[in-house]
């Protein structure tokens, strides 16, 4: 009888803790979504709202949407480059007979250890130096920003793919080879599909690293080159336009919808494995 009540108390405590945590975690996001549909009081978004409205969604400036679109395009471009570099790198690390492979793996992981602000400063100065040396401007251009985002996103692709490749049973490849398939077609038809979950999760991380980055973009942005986080950051200094809440709501909804799709197509476990 005592064990029974103790278990019930433990269970209640566990639920209370998790519920409290979820409320704490989601509160800022929930408040933004509600505020995006609310009439402001004295020009400021307030929670809880007094009246509801849809007008902020029609008040979204074209400039906000173009900046959001540019952020998506930037992140997508960075992901493509990260995958093109990261998948061969992970396969190479796992399978080449070179010595010191552990060193290479650590080298690809190194950018994660560098604080984002430091990466921003470093790339800014690197681009100034390159500008003086070869006349190529990287600071304040989309290309320059994209290269910096590849730098911070690549470790995630290499890490995720490496985690899958190292556990991948090569007997499938051997079977295909014995049956007469050429190595390159085995790579395309057997190996790549088998490691696809690792590629998807690495690509997802790389996309999010780029899409949510503020510190690096802040150093490398210009008046023409502004990602959405930079725009939002600069807007928070001045008179705040509630239409930005509507854009933020779109991002929040897209994040949750994206997670749902990822869960359905690839499975959340692929993301967890590569987190390490």
């Amino acid at each position: 009888m005592k064990g029974f009540t103790e278990r019930r108390v433990n269970r209640a405590l566990a639920w209370l803790w998790v519920t409290g945590f979820m409320l704490f975690l989601l509160a800022p996001l929930f408040v933004i979504v509600v505020a995006a549909f609310s009439e402001p009081i004295l020009g400021r978004a307030v929670f809880p709202p007094r009246a509801l409205t849809l007008r902020w969604f029609s008040a979204i400036q074209p400039e906000y949407l173009s900046s959001l679109g540019a952020s998506v395009a930037l992140a997508s471009a960075a992901v493509v480059v990260c995958v093109l570099l990261g998948v061969p790198a992970a396969l190479g690390i796992a399978r080449s007979r070179w010595r010191g492979k552990a060193v290479f793996a650590a080298l690809f992981r190194a950018p994660v250890q560098i604080p984002a602000v430091v990466t921003g400063v470093a790339f800014l100065q690197l681009y100034y130096l390159l500008g003086d040396a070869i006349g190529w401007t990287g600071a304040g251009t989309w290309t320059g920003l994209m290269i910096a985002h590849v730098f911070i996103g690549l470790p995630y692709v290499v890490g995720s793919v490496l985690a899958v490749v190292q556990r991948f049973n090569s007997s499938l490849e051997e079977a295909a080879l014995i049956l007469g398939a050429a190595p390159w077609s085995v790579l395309r038809r057997v190996t790549l599909p088998a490691i696809a979950p690792g590629i998807y999760s690495g690509a997802t991380y790389a996309f999010l690293v780029s899409f949510s980055d503020l510190p690096v973009a802040l150093f490398l942005s210009s008046s023409d080159v502004r990602t959405f986080p930079v725009l939002l950051f600069q807007a928070m200094d001045y008179e705040f336009d509630p239409a930005l809440l509507a854009v933020a709501t779109m991002i929040i909804v897209a994040s949750f919808a994206g997670m749902l799709l990822f869960q359905k197509w690839v499975g959340i476990n692929a993301l967890l494995r590569s987190g390490k």
Binding site: E6, V18, P28, S96, P229, I268
Partner: protein, 284 residues
């Protein structure tokens, strides 16, 4: 399978080394040149920036504040997050994966948006402050802006979801059968937690904690937006020194100090953990 694997590795490796080496070299070198104003650097090599940094309590305090805030936030993150990760990992109902997916999705949303939400929650005429004032718990509206505690809350939102996901995978590596064995042998639930689960999870907890700590050390957004120029952590100071003061030499020096301080804390904790493990004779 015989493919020229090293040729796969070569191009990404060369590019990574170029970017890593290039960027690290440029700002390391920059830290040894004096600022001449308007973004120009002196030609002579000098330790002047480092001497100035360690002689000026303004910079030393900023370093101390950054480490202290990161450490506190990391401890709170682990204490709050570990029970959540444990409950979710051991949950047998269908809610487990759903809650986990929600936490992962929340970690995807940029911190700029989360801070925006925090500002709305703590608005002076918002529901929370009206409630607190109404109950008489506080005499003035509670605000996060410009306060160390506020920045800590912002940092918490930066790390919490991510670290919980890491801890979740740590708990998954501990076989459930070990807990059941301990309880069959008469250990209480709490005793099982303290004597079985925590020791087994400790390396993973520390690894996750270090990742959280590193995130906090480099966290710019929370500190800049909530600190509002009054709480100057190193990342904020670096951005101001480079963008507002255009002192690239000093900015680079601060960046080197931030990078090295983070590495030192990481190495110290790893050494400490292996000492602990050796002392207790745990093999893991």
């Amino acid at each position: 399978m015989n493919l020229p694997w090293h040729r796969f590795l070569l191009p990404p490796l060369v590019l990574s080394i170029a970017l890593l080496g290039g960027s690290l070299y440029v700002f390391l070198a920059g830290s040894f040149h004096a600022d001449l104003g308007v973004g120009r650097l002196g030609d002579a090599l000098t330790f002047a920036n480092y001497r100035k940094l360690f002689a000026d309590s303004f910079y030393v305090d900023s370093l101390g504040l950054t480490i202290k805030l990161s450490a506190i936030t990391t401890v709170v993150t682990l204490v709050v997050g570990m029970p959540v990760a444990y409950v979710l990992a051991r949950m047998r109902s269908r809610w487990g994966p759903v809650l986990l997916a929600v936490i992962v999705a929340a970690s995807f949303v940029t911190i700029v948006i989360k801070v925006l939400g925090l500002n709305i929650i703590f608005a002076a005429n918002g529901g929370l402050n009206r409630f607190l004032l109404g109950t008489g718990l506080v005499t003035a509206p509670v605000s996060l802006i410009g306060k160390v505690e506020g920045v800590a809350v912002g940092l918490l939102y930066f790390t919490l979801a991510f670290v919980v996901v890491l801890l979740y995978s740590v708990v998954l590596t501990i076989p459930r059968s070990l807990e059941e064995a301990a309880q069959n042998l008469g250990a209480s639930r709490w005793r099982t937690h303290w004597r079985v689960i925590l020791p087994l999870a400790l390396p993973g907890i520390i690894a996750s904690g270090l990742i959280g700590f590193n995130l906090c050390m480099g966290a710019f957004t929370s500190a800049a937006l909530i600190g509002a120029g009054r709480i100057l952590t190193l990342p904020v100071l670096i951005q101001r020194t480079v963008i507002f003061d255009t002192k690239y030499g000093m900015g680079a020096t601060l960046a080197v100090v931030l990078l090295v301080a983070g590495l030192v804390v990481n190495v110290l904790s790893i050494v400490l953990v292996s000492r602990l493990k050796a002392a207790r004779g745990v093999t893991a």
